[in-house]
Amino acid sequence: MSVSSLAGGAQPTFAATPWRERAEEALIPPLVALLVALICGDLLILSYGQSPAAVYRLLLEGTWGNAYGFGQVLYKATTLAFTGLAVSFGLRAGLFNIGGESQLAAGGFAAALTGLALPLGTPLIIALILCMIAAGCAGGVVGAVPAYLKTRFGAHEVIVTIMLNFIVLALLNWFIAGHLHVPETLHTPEIHAGILPRLADINPRFHGSAANLALIVALIVASGVWFYLFRARGGYELRAVGLQPEAAEYGGISVGRVWMKALTLSGMIAGMGGINYVLGYKHYYEDGFASGAGFLGIAVALVGRNHPLGVLLAAFFFATLSQGGLAIHAFVPKQMMDVLQGVVIIAVATAVPEVRRVLRSARKRGDA
C-alpha cells in the first residue's frame, strides 16, 4: 500500500487537536487551582482586617519588585527546582520519592566534604565538577537504597524513602555534631574550593541576596531531564514503565532496571541541589539546611505536572510565596504564606485530577 491512501477515506487531522488538548490539560488545571488558592488568600487577608490588594502589592514589591527580593526568590527557587525535578523524575517512572529531604542533605554534605578536601586554589570549574559529582553520588546512593529494596524484595519506595530520611539525617547530624563542626555551631568549616560566584558579583544590584550560579546548573539539569524523558530511548522506556508497567515488560523493557535507574537518578538530582546552599551561599554544610525543601519538592513536582518546564515555574512560584511571606510580615503574619502554600498544594492535589477528569470525560464521551 502506498502513502497516498492516507489521503483517502480517513483524512489525517494532524497536530491540531492533540496539541490543543495537551495545552489545555497542562494549563487549565493548575490555573484553576491557583485561582482557588488566590480566593482563599483573599479571605485570609480579609479575616485579618487587611486589604488583599494592598497585601498582594506588597508581596509583589518585596519579591519581584526589587533586585534583592528577586535574587532571594531565585535562590530559593534553585533548591526547589532540584528537589522538584527529582520528585517528578521518579514519578515519571511511577515511583514516589519522598526522600528528597535526605538526598538533598547528603548531597550538600558530600559537596562540603569535597570542597574541604580540595586544596585552596583549585580551579573553580574543576572544583565545581568534583563537588557536583560528589553531591550527585551521595544523593544517588540514598536514592539507590529504596530502589534496590523495591526491585529485589518488593519493599514500597514510599515507606523506605520516608524512613531513610530519618536515618540519613540522623547520621549526618551525628557526623557534624560529633566530628566535623566548628565549635559552638552545627556546621562544618568553610570550604576551600568550589565557591560559586553570586549573581551580585556579576550585577551589584543583587547585593545581599543569596542567588548564585547554581541557578544556571539547575536550568541545565532541567533541560537534561527534559531531553532524557522526551527524546532519549531511556526516557521512552522510563515513561512506559511509569504509565503501564505490564505493557513496558511486554515491550522488552526490564521494569526493575528502570526502577533502579529512575530512583538513583532522582536521588542524584536532589543531591545536586545541595550545591546551591553549600557552594553558592554559606560555603559550609550546616545541619538542617535542607529542612522542608525536600518535601516542598513534592508540591513543586505536583504543581509543575512532572514536566521540567512546569517544575521550574512551580519552583519559582513557591519560592515567591516563601520570600513574599517575609515581605508582608508587617501586615499579616508571614505564616499566612505557609497556609497559602498548603492551600495551593491541596487545591492542586484536588483540583488538578478533578479538572483533568472533567476535561477527559468530556472528551471521552465524545469518542463513545
Binding site: 502513502v3 489525517p12 492533540p18 521512552y236 503501564q244 511486554y250 468530556a362 464521551r365 465524545g366 469518542d367
Partner: protein
C-alpha cells in the same frame, strides 16, 4: 401493547462528535432484543441514556409508557432497569452473597450484616433463575463465567425487570455461553425484558426475538430475527457486503498446504507454574511449521494465557524448551526473543499491548524502540515515517500518528498492535485473542492479515476463545484442557461439536 422501552429521536453530542443522531429503540416486554452495531455506532451511549448515566440532548425516553427522559441512575434502578456491564464491578475480597447485598444489606437487630439471611436470599434467587453459584465463595476465586452470573444476580437482586447486557459473552467459553443463553431464555419466559448488546451475529440469530441495528449514531434497521439472516445484519451494520469468516456456517477457506523451509516454533515438554505456584501447563509439546497456523481452542483458564506468556518471555518456565528456527530461547528475555523473530499480539491490548497515553507513533515502536534510537536518542523522524507507513498499510483510523492510543476505537487500537507486530520482519507470531472486542469490519481485516502472513511462510500460533475463528484460520487445531493438549487434529477433521467435547473434558484425546 405498550413497549417496555421506547426511545425516539435521541440526539447526544460530545463536542464535535455526535454519538447519537435521531437514534430510536423500541423493545417489547418479555422479549430478547439484540442491539447490534460496529464499535462506535452509538449503542453504549444509547444504553447509558436509558440507564440514567447521561441525559440526551434531544429525544424522548419512555419506560413502560411513562416519560422518563433525563432521569437519574437511581430513578432507573427504582424503575427496574438493570445494566450488566462488560467489565465486572464486584469486590473480589468479598463473598458472592456479600457482593450481592452490597448497598442494601439485610441487618439483624444490631448493625451487623445478617449474613445468613443474605446467603439464603441469594440461594433462593439462584434456584429461581438457574444462575447457580455458591453464596459463600469469594469472588476472587470465581471463574469469569461465574463472576458474570454474580453480576446478573446482582441486578436481579435489586429487582430489575429490564436487563441490559453489554457484550456478555465476550469472555465466556462456548459451554458457558450456552448456559448463559439458557438462563436468559428462562428469565424471558418468566417475564423479564432483555436488551443484548453484542458483536456476534451467531448469538443474535440464535437468541434474540428482535434486532435493532445501529450505524454511525443512527438506527438503521429494526427487524424480527426470524425474518433475517446474519449476512443481512452484517450488511446493515457495516453498510456494505462483508465476508463472514467468523460466521457460523462459513466453511474454512480452501488453502493449498504450504510447508516451507525453516523450523518455525518448537516447544518441548513445557511446564509452567502460575504466580501462585499452581501447575497451569504440564508437559506440553508441539511445533508450528513455517506457513502453518496452529489454533489452540479451550475454555478460558486452562493454561492458554500462561502458555502464550511463557512463549513470549513474560512468565518463567519451570522446565522444557522453546525454540524459534532452531534457536533455544527458553531463558532469553523478551527483547532478545524479538530479535530472534518472535512477534506477539497479546490477549489484552489495554493492559499489555498498548501504552494508552502514548501516541500511535510511539506505540508503533514499542518493543523495537532500540532500532529507532541512535546513541540512545530516539530518532523522531524515523518514528514518524514508520507510523505513517503502518497507518496507511493497516488502515488505522483516524490516520493521525500523534493521537493518543487511548482516543482510538477498540478495533483501531488492535490494528495498531497488529501493525507493530506484523509490520516488521518476524518468523513466528503468537496471536492471542486477536479479534476480541473488535467490530466485524476489523475482524475481517485481521483475519486477512493472518492468512497473508501464513502464505508468506510465517509460523502462527493462534489462541482464541472463538471456535469459529480457530476453525476457519487454522491448519491444525489443538484443544487445551487443564494445562495439557487434549487433542491435536487437522482443522479439516474438526468441528465445533468435536472440539467442544474435548474442551469440557468429556473426551480425552491422542495428545496427552
Amino acid at each position: 401493547m405498550t413497549p417496555a422501552i421506547r426511545m425516539v429521536g435521541i440526539d447526544k453530542s460530545f463536542g464535535a462528535i455526535r454519538a447519537n443522531r435521531g437514534a430510536s429503540l423500541e423493545v417489547m416486554p418479555g422479549e430478547i432484543h439484540a442491539l447490534v452495531g460496529e464499535n462506535g455506532a452509538g449503542k453504549s451511549t444509547l444504553m447509558r441514556i436509558l440507564g440514567g448515566l447521561m441525559k440526551p440532548d434531544a429525544g424522548r425516553v419512555e419506560v413502560n409508557g411513562r416519560d422518563v427522559t433525563g432521569w437519574s441512575t437511581s430513578d432507573a434502578i427504582a424503575a427496574g432497569i438493570g445494566i450488566v456491564h462488560q467489565h465486572f464491578m464486584l469486590v473480589p475480597t468479598l463473598t458472592v452473597a456479600e457482593n450481592l447485598v452490597l448497598g442494601c444489606e439485610p441487618k439483624t437487630r444490631i448493625v451487623v450484616l445478617d449474613y445468613k439471611r443474605a446467603a439464603d436470599d441469594v440461594r433462593k434467587l439462584s434456584n429461581e433463575t438457574g444462575l447457580v453459584v455458591a453464596p459463600d465463595r469469594l469472588v476472587s476465586d470465581l471463574s469469569v463465567g461465574e463472576a458474570q452470573r454474580v453480576e446478573i444476580l446482582k441486578v436481579l437482586f435489586r429487582g430489575a425487570k429490564i436487563l441490559v447486557l453489554d457484550e456478555p459473552t465476550a469472555v465466556l467459553s462456548p459451554p458457558e455461553v450456552h448456559e448463559l443463553w439458557a438462563v436468559l431464555r428462562r428469565l424471558r419466559d418468566n417475564g423479564a425484558t432483555i436488551v443484548l448488546i453484542t458483536h456476534r451475529l451467531d448469538e443474535v440469530v440464535e437468541l434474540s426475538d428482535t434486532i435493532t441495528v445501529m450505524r454511525a449514531g443512527q438506527t438503521v434497521e429494526r427487524i424480527k430475527t426470524s425474518e433475517t439472516t446474519p449476512a443481512e445484519i452484517a450488511r446493515a451494520m457495516v453498510g456494505r457486503e462483508v465476508s463472514l469468516s467468523a460466521g457460523k456456517r462459513v466453511q474454512p477457506v480452501q488453502r493449498p498446504a504450504s510447508p516451507q523451509p525453516g523450523q518455525g516454533l518448537e516447544v518441548r515438554s513445557l511446564t509452567i507454574n502460575s504466580s501462585r505456584g499452581i501447575r497451569v501447563v504440564e508437559g506440553v509439546s508441539f511445533g508450528v511449521k513455517p506457513g502453518e497456523v496452529l489454533g489452540i481452542a479451550g475454555v478460558e483458564g486452562n493454561g492458554q494465557t500462561e502458555l502464550v506468556e511463557a512463549l513470549a518471555g513474560l512468565r518463567p518456565v519451570l522446565s522444557g524448551d522453546i525454540l524459534i528456527d532452531g534457536v533455544d530461547i527458553t531463558r532469553r528475555p523478551v527483547a532478545a526473543r524479538h530479535d530472534t523473530g518472535l512477534s506477539h499480539i497479546p490477549e489484552d491490548r489495554h493492559r499489555r499491548g498498548l501504552i494508552l497515553e502514548y501516541t500511535v507513533a510511539d506505540n508503533l515502536i514499542l518493543g523495537v524502540q532500540k532500532y529507532f534510537a541512535k546513541r540512545g536518542v530516539i530518532e523522531k523522524d524515523r518514528v514518524m515515517e514508520n507510523a505513517i507507513q503502518e497507518i496507511s498499510a493497516f488502515d488505522i483510523r483516524p490516520a493521525n500518528p500523534i493521537l493518543a492510543a487511548r482516543a482510538l476505537s477498540g478495533g483501531n487500537q488492535q490494528k495498531v498492535v497488529i501493525a507493530r507486530e506484523m509490520g516488521r520482519d518476524f518468523s513466528v507470531l503468537l496471536a492471542s485473542q486477536p479479534t476480541r472486542g473488535v467490530d466485524v469490519g476489523a475482524i475481517e481485516f485481521i483475519h486477512q492479515q493472518l492468512l497473508e502472513a501464513r502464505s508468506k511462510g510465517k509460523a502462527i500460533l493462534l489462541v482464541s476463545a472463538e471456535l469459529n475463528e480457530v476453525l476457519a484460520l487454522s491448519d491444525r487445531v489443538a484443544v487445551m484442557y487443564r494445562g495439557k493438549f487434549a487433542v491435536v487434529m487437522p482443522a479439516a477433521e474438526a468441528s465445533e461439536e468435536v472440539l467442544g467435547e474435548y474442551m469440557i473434558g468429556t473426551k480425552k484425546g491422542n495428545a496427552a
